[in-house]
Each structure stands twice: as structure tokens, then as C-alpha cells.
């Protein structure tokens, strides 16, 4: 066809999505107690390996918060077999990348490696968790890097707001109200001995899971057994996680002098994935602030031009969780934006519609095949579920539960969990510029840091 003049087609109808379910795993347990979950994904030539340790941050001594993250940061700084920098060299020389991080529920070591080097990479991973050097010099260096990183984060409005929101929403008696990496007061006191003790009593195969995902070689079981089969730790002690609790509503304005924009967080302590209302609530939250055309974004971005984007998200922990609105707004419109947010979240006044729910359901179900199409996606997804105490069957179960959600059940969940008159407000910005407007809009903010 030559196209000298414009001729367009009518808008097509949406076809049905193809069938999909979460990939199956080959699950086996080593004699040491380590559970292995192997996901074979043809065509995924970079293998992702994740090791999840059941080591919640409640295992940290109260005056040594940050020791779990510091231990994780030191794992690749040398092992008995590969001392000092020769360990990182060995990892990178086989094309791998290795990192270890902590969540409130546990420590996770993560590795990506081309399939041909899986065996070598697995032996390096087990070295890192079984026999890291954790020398005083390594701990001292990583601690000063962690302190510098903390300072950088506090200088960033958005990171600062996330931190202040956790403090404002979670009972201060809970570990989860404070940074995973520890605060300055405790971090500065952590010694090499603290880190070695934490490793000795915390790292072990009991209740640990190894996730391997990708285009797996036929001998993957042998490779895993050869690397991990002798990893034991008689000194490993198991510690219970915490059931996180919320706190009373507050309104806080954290002073960040000279900021040209304010980082706003509005939220409430809510639920985790195991709550029976989770499917209803998740859809409701997405209608309110997850989609591009969400109730919040349509008004605050597309109609008002107040923000680059505003989101409402759930932050589920293993037991307990919170829901938070996040957005950055220029100083002049902050009070108006915060005042608009409450009514926009009020579902009792404007119940969720069947159309809103259908759109949201199709979105959440449609993006999952893509999210879990890669080795990295599957491995990270399974690690996230493990840290919530769940297995991958949760994904398919949730898809079934999403289909049963009705406008009434979603509206009820949101009305109960996110009442618009009981929300905590945290604003991080220039208090001199923001306080009068916020007060005039009826927010009795407590100013911090001025």
C-alpha cells in the first residue's frame, strides 16, 4: 500500500491474554537442612542464585543495630580460601556479580552468573557465607562506608522522607521502625568481633533456602550438592521475627532548609500478605494510587500539574505492614496537595467501581508473566515471598483471589484500613516556607529539626 493520504484503522478490541502460571520448581532438601528450589527457564542464559537465611533483624543486639547489614557488606571482602581482594577478583573473573542485602526478615545473598560458570559461582557463594574473613580492617572500612552512605541518604529528600514515614507509622518498640542498616549511634559502636559473632550464630543452613533460576544445566542438583552439601553450622541459633505494630496518627514537618520541593508521605499502618483482606485491599490501593490514571495521579499530576507523579503503595512486612502515599511537590502547592489527598482516598464517599476494578485486575494479572519471565525476576520474586514466609504458590493463589474481588469487598477493605480521617502525614521540606500554608490548611504539624 502506498500511503500518500492518511488512512487509519478503527480502534481494535482487546483480545484475551494467553494462559500463564508461575513456573514450577524442582524442590529438594540437602542433609544439612538447606532447602533448594530450582526453576528451569529455557533461554535464560544468565542464572540467578539467591540464598535466603532465616535471620530476622530481631537477632541483632539492641545496641548493635546495623550489624546484620554490616556483616552482609563484608561477605565479599575475602574468605579463608580466597583472602582479601582475591575473592572479589575470583567472582568477577567468572563473569559473576555477587551481593548480599538484609530485609527485616532475613539476610539474602544474590548472584548472577552466565550458565557456563554456575558451578564455580556456587562454590564462591558458599565460601562467602561459610568462611568469610570478616577482619577488623574490613569491618572498619565497611562501617565508615556505611556511615557515609547514611549521611548521603539523609541528605536526599526522598530517602529522608521514607525513613521519617517509617518512624511516624511504626511503634518505636519495633525493630522495623528503624533503618535496616542501623542508625549512626549503633553503627559507630560495631566492631569486628560483633560482626564475627553475628555471623557465627546467625549464618547456617537450617531453615535456609537456595533459589536457582535460569536455563539450568542437567547436573544442577549435583552442582548444588557439591557446593553446599558440606555447609553446616552447629552454632547456628534461630530467632523469632517480630509482629510489627503501628502507632497513633501524627503530622510531622521535617525541616530541610532550602529544599525547592517537599517530599510528602501520607499513610497508615495496615496489613501484610497473609491477611484475608489482602487481595481486596491490594486492588483498592492500586485503583487509588497505583495506576497512571489512578484517582490520585489523575488529579494531582494530570489535572493540577502539581507533581511528576504520585503513588500509593503497600509495604507489607512479614507480620504487619503499612500503606503510604509518596510524592514530591513544589513548595507553593504542598498544602493544597496534602489537603486534596485525604478526600481522594475516601472510598466511603466514592465507592470503587466495577470498571476501576476490572482495569486494575487486568493490569496486575497482565504484568506478572513479564515480571516473572526472567531468571532474575523469578529468583527475586521467590526471595521476596520467602522473606514474607510464603512460597511461590502464593502467586497463583492470589491470581485466583483477585478474580473474586468485588467493588463492594474492595471498597470495604479500603474504607476499613485507610480511613481518610485517620492518616499520618510526613512532609520533608523547607519548614519556613511550608509551615504557614500547612497550618492554614488545617494540619497541626509538629516541626522537627529546625
Amino acid at each position: 500500500m502506498t500511503a500518500d493520504t492518511l488512512s487509519l484503522r478503527p480502534r481494535p478490541e482487546l483480545g484475551a491474554p494467553g494462559p500463564w502460571s508461575f513456573p514450577d520448581a524442582d524442590v529438594f532438601t540437602l542433609d544439612t537442612g538447606l532447602t533448594v528450589r530450582a526453576y528451569h527457564l529455557p533461554g535464560q542464559h544468565v542464572i540467578s542464585v539467591g540464598l535466603a537465611l532465616d535471620l530476622p533483624l530481631t537477632a541483632e543486639p539492641a545496641d548493635k543495630e546495623g550489624v546484620a547489614a554490616l556483616t552482609a557488606a563484608c561477605l565479599d571482602q575475602g574468605t579463608r580460601t580466597h583472602p582479601g581482594t582475591s575473592f572479589a577478583d575470583a567472582v568477577e573473573n567468572c563473569g559473576a556479580v555477587l551481593e548480599a542485602t538484609v530485609t527485616y526478615a532475613g539476610t539474602q545473598a544474590y548472584l548472577d552468573v552466565p550458565a557456563t560458570h554456575l558451578g564455580t559461582a556456587l562454590t564462591l557463594l558458599v565460601e562467602a557465607v561459610r568462611e568469610p574473613e570478616l577482619s577488623d580492617a574490613d569491618v572498619d572500612r565497611e562501617r565508615s562506608l556505611a556511615l557515609a552512605d547514611l549521611e548521603q541518604r539523609l541528605a536526599n529528600g526522598s530517602s529522608r522522607a521514607d525513613r521519617e514515614a517509617r518512624i511516624a507509622l511504626i511503634d518505636p518498640a519495633c525493630r522495623a521502625s528503624r533503618r535496616k542498616g542501623g542508625e549512626q549511634e549503633t553503627l559507630t559502636t560495631i566492631t569486628g568481633e560483633d560482626v564475627r559473632r553475628f555471623h557465627q550464630t546467625g549464618y547456617g543452613p537450617t531453615r535456609a533456602t537456595l533459589v536457582v533460576a535460569g536455563d539450568l544445566p542437567a547436573d544442577v542438583r549435583q552442582l548444588v550438592t557439591a557446593a553446599f552439601g558440606t555447609w553446616t553450622n552447629p552454632a547456628q541459633r534461630l530467632v523469632a521475627g517480630e509482629s510489627v505494630r503501628g502507632r497513633e496518627r501524627v503530622a510531622v514537618l521535617v525541616h530541610r532548609p532550602g529544599a525547592v520541593q517537599a517530599d510528602v508521605r501520607i499513610g497508615r499502618f495496615t496489613i501484610d500478605r497473609t491477611d484475608p483482606r489482602w487481595a481486596d485491599y491490594q486492588l483498592a490501593v492500586h485503583v487509588l494510587g497505583g495506576a497512571f490514571l489512578s484517582r490520585l495521579n489523575v488529579v494531582l499530576r494530570e489535572e493540577k500539574g502539581y507533581t511528576y507523579g504520585v503513588h500509593l503503595t503497600n509495604a507489607p512486612l512479614r507480620a504487619g505492614g503499612y500503606t503510604v502515599l509518596s510524592g514530591s511537590f513544589r513548595n507553593e502547592v504542598v498544602a493544597d496537595a496534602v489537603a486534596l489527598a485525604g478526600p481522594l482516598l475516601a472510598v466511603a464517599a466514592k465507592p470503587l467501581t466495577a470498571d476501576e476494578l476490572d482495569r486494575t485486575r487486568r493490569y496486575l494479572m497482565g504484568v506478572q508473566p513479564l515480571q516473572y519471565a526472567t531468571a532474575s525476576g523469578v529468583c527475586h520474586g521467590v526471595l521476596t515471598l520467602l522473606s514474607a514466609g510464603l512460597e511461590h504458590t502464593f502467586v497463583d493463589d492470589l491470581r485466583r483471589r483477585w478474580t473474586a474481588v468485588t467493588p463492594e469487598s474492595a471498597t470495604e477493605a479500603a474504607a476499613e484500613l485507610l480511613p481518610a480521617d485517620d492518616l499520618t502525614v510526613v512532609v520533608v521540606g523547607d519548614a519556613d516556607a511550608l509551615e504557614p500554608d500547612l497550618r492554614a490548611a488545617g494540619f497541626d504539624v509538629q516541626v522537627v529539626g529546625r
Partner: protein
């Protein structure tokens, strides 16, 4: 040590079929039936380098306008309809291109193609002063959020201005100047659209659960009726020589720590000399095994972070930088001379065999990881078709990169990364009341 490759002969075998419609639209299809999803990816050959004086930031503002509706699509409906179909959608603007992409369940492919065709064909029909004003405010919020309200957020603005001469296509940032955006009108937006948004200036790639013949038929169905237009001409790119005279700029800001950035000009991407410089910079500053990290962060503990990287650009000249952030008040001159001395040592010695081998296997893993996702695979095919002529180069890219020799790396580093050919940007930590 294991420097062996993950793939036979380093050649990858992703299938590729390419056709050009009579109106000039280049279409690339690469089937992959692993998951019932299709990645739809369009590269328009327009970026911030195409902005004329006084219109900086316009390519990016325009990217926002592309979501504000067209003749048959309401404002916001492109994103809204795609998300409601189970798709993830976005767009980005860079120096050398603007890309639009959606990854859709197979049943939503037609709708995605129709939406993309409608805005390619008819965007000005929906271009209103109201949409322009609103998105200008959104872009200003984006700039505040991503650059103005973040420590070191203006590093690229300063570094580019130091490295490229005034008025050069790469001398300004993609986000551009807010004063220029204020001057934008619906007329300038329409002119911009007519120049750059047309089938002959676009590559459309589909990767995923499609059969090639069926995919081409669908693309022809939706895009075939869009008239051809004259492709915009672009002045031939000039390769700039290395910098001379070590230009310097110091900014004083309330950053958590002082920092030093060294920048250089490099050859254009798509040349062996650029790849060789890229390897040199990776060895100097890519990750914790790199020379800068080992010395500044690990051994001497002068720095909380140090690294180096190349930013490949197609228009004659690319950009490189190395940086170090001070730790607990390390004097910035000491930091700079430590970086310079590591660069000098590299120029004198070249890479070791171990370093070169590591750089190759790490590149291979990163390349394979990008290709693991259908969305980024589609983006790479569009990229290599737009900037380098053929998407097939994606399959041979690892082999090409791994053929660069130690001598080439050393010689390219000597030619392009000499300390005399650097510019220096310094962030001094402001004490209270002292701001530049």
C-alpha cells in the same frame, strides 16, 4: 580463572526479520514464545542533540505530550488503556533518541499498535495549550525531583558544559532549560512533531510471542496508512579533538561530602576506539575490583565512592568521566591527584591480562542479562538499527567487544584519556549561608 565464554563462538542466535513499509517505517520482528507477551518498542531518531538554540528540553517535553492524546485517543488514555490491558508502558528521552515502549499480553498487541499509530499520525489534532501548560509543569516537577532537590543532581549539567563547546549538540542536558520550556508554544510543538515524528524516522521492533508474517501484517494494517514524509536532515557530526588546557569549574553546595569529577571527550560509539576506551574506563572504575575503587576506597580509604564510565554517543564525540567522593574531609586536591595518578599508571602500563579477561566476561554477562528481558532485547534491536544500521549487530556484539586487544585499549586510552585532556568539576561542601 575462568575467562571462557558462556556462548559458543560468542555469537548469539536471536532470530531477526526486518522489513521496511513503503512509507519508510522500519519494522523488526524477533519471535520468542517463552511467555505470552510481546514487547513493542519504537525508536524515533530524535533526541536532545536535535534541539536548536533556545529550545533545550524540547525533545523530552514532547515525549510527555505524546501521552496527552491524539485524534482518536483522549488525554492520558494511551497509558490508561494500556495499563488496563495488562501492559507496562513508558518512554524515555536521551541525547540520541526518544523511545516509546509497551510490553503487552498477546491479546493487547493490536491495541498497542493502533495507539502508537494514532499518535504517530495525528498528534497535533490533540495538542492544546492546556495540555502543553500542564505537562510543562509536570516536567518542571520532574526536574526539581530528579535534579534540583538531590545532592550532586546538577553534575551532568556542569560536566557537559565543561566538556563540549557552547552550542554543541551535547553541551546541554536532556532535561534542558526551564526558561526555554517556558518559551514553547503549540506551534513549536507542532513543528517539532512534523519534523521528527513520521514513519521514515522511526524503527518499530516486536519481540515476543508472535509469528513474523502475522506480526508484519498487523503492523502494515495499522501503520501502512500513514503517509511518508521527508526525513529530517541533520548536519554531519564532527569529531571533536581531545580537550586542552584542563578546563575547571567549582561549585559550592550543601552536599554531604566534597567530590571531584574528571571528564574527557571520546570517539563516537560504534567504533573500536570507543569500545577500547570503554574497557579502559571499566578497568579504571567499574565496580569494586577496579583500580580506582581498590586504591581510593579500599586501600587508602580517601573516598566513600570512586568509579569511571563511558557514555556512548553517536554524534561524532562521546563522553567519559571518572569521579571520587571524599571520605571524612579528604582534601579535594589530594583526591584529584590520586585519580590522575591511577589514570597515568594505566596509560603507561595498559591493562593486565586478568583485567582484560574480567572486563570481557563481565560485559558478556551484562549483555546476556539485557537480552534476557524481551523489553530490553527489543530496545537493543531498535537501538542498533537506528544508530548503527542493523539489529544483527546485537547478536555479534559480544564477539566484537571481546576482539578488542590489550594494545588497542592502551593506545586508545593514551589517545583519549590523557590527564592533560581532562576537564575537572569540583563540588565543594558549602558551610552555612555560602552557596554558589
Amino acid at each position: 580463572m575462568c575467562f571462557h565464554s558462556a556462548v559458543t563462538n560468542l555469537e548469539l542466535g536471536y532470530p531477526l526479520i526486518e522489513r521496511t513499509l513503503p512509507n519508510g517505517l522500519r519494522v523488526i520482528v524477533s519471535p520468542d514464545h517463552a511467555v505470552p507477551v510481546v514487547a513493542v518498542n519504537l525508536w524515533y531518531d530524535v533526541g536532545s542533540r536535535d534541539e536548536v538554540d533556545g529550545e533545550s528540553g524540547f525533545a523530552h517535553l514532547f515525549e510527555h505530550l505524546m501521552f496527552q492524546g491524539s485524534a482518536n485517543v483522549a488525554s492520558g488514555d494511551h497509558l490508561g488503556a494500556m495499563q488496563a490491558a495488562g501492559a507496562s508502558v513508558n518512554a524515555t528521552t536521551f541525547f540520541d533518541r526518544t523511545n516509546y515502549f509497551e510490553a503487552v499480553p498477546t491479546g493487547a498487541l493490536d491495541l498497542a499498535l493502533w495507539l502508537e499509530a494514532d499518535r504517530m499520525a495525528t498528534l497535533p489534532a490533540a495538542l492544546s495549550q492546556e495540555n502543553l501548560d500542564n505537562q510543562r509543569e509536570v516536567v518542571k516537577e520532574e526536574k526539581r525531583q530528579r535534579y534540583d532537590n538531590v545532592p550532586y543532581g546538577d553534575v551532568f549539567e556542569h560536566a557537559l558544559a565543561l566538556t563540549f563547546p557552547p552550542g554543541h549538540p551535547y553541551a546541554h542536558t536532556v532535561i534542558g532549560s526551564m526558561a526555554d520550556l517556558d518559551a514553547a508554544t503549540t506551534e513549536t510543538a507542532t513543528r517539532f512533531f512534523r519534523s521528527f515524528y513520521q514513519p521514515g524516522n522511526c524503527v518499530l521492533t516486536l519481540v515476543g510471542d508472535v509469528e513474523p508474517e502475522d506480526a508484519f501484517a498487523r503492523v502494515e494494517h495499522y501503520f501502512g496508512g500513514i503517509p511518508a514524509a521527508v526525513r529530517p536532515s541533520r548536519e554531519e557530526s564532527v569529531a571533536l579533538p581531545p580537550l586542552v588546557g584542563v578546563p575547571r569549574r567549582t561549585v559550592t553546595q550543601p552536599v554531604p561530602e566534597g567530590a571531584v569529577y574528571l571528564t574527557w571527550r571520546l570517539p563516537a560509539r560504534g567504533t573500536r576506539a570507543f569500545d577500547a576506551c570503554d574497557i579502559a574506563l571499566d578497568i579504571l572504575g567499574g565496580g569494586q575490583t577496579s583500580r580506582l575503587y581498590r586504591r581510593l576506597v579500599h586501600s587508602e580509604q580517601l573516598s566513600s565512592g570512586a568509579g569511571a564510565a563511558a557514555l556512548g554517543l553517536i554524534g561524532g564525540t562521546s563522553f567519559a568521566y571518572a569521579y571520587a567522593r571524599a571520605l571524612e574531609g579528604t582534601p579535594l586536591p589530594q583526591l584529584e591527584s590520586a585519580v590522575v595518578s591511577e589514570v597515568e599508571r594505566f596509560l603507561a602500563e595498559g591493562p593486565t591480562d586478568e583485567e582484560l579477561g574480567r572486563s570481557r566476561v563481565q560485559f558478556e554477562r551484562e549483555w546476556l542479562s539485557q537480552l534476557a528481558r524481551v523489553e530490553s532485547r527489543a530496545d537493543l534491536f531498535s537501538c542498533y538499527a537506528t544508530l548503527h544500521g542493523s539489529p544483527d549487530l546485537v547478536n555479534s556484539r559480544v564477539a566484537e567487544f571481546c576482539s578488542i586487544t590489550a594494545e588497542e585499549v592502551r593506545d586508545a586510552a593514551r589517545a583519549w584519556l590523557a590527564p592533560d585532556a581532562r576537564a575537572v568539576l569540583t563540588y565543594e561542601r558549602a558551610t552555612e549561608g555560602e552557596l554558589s
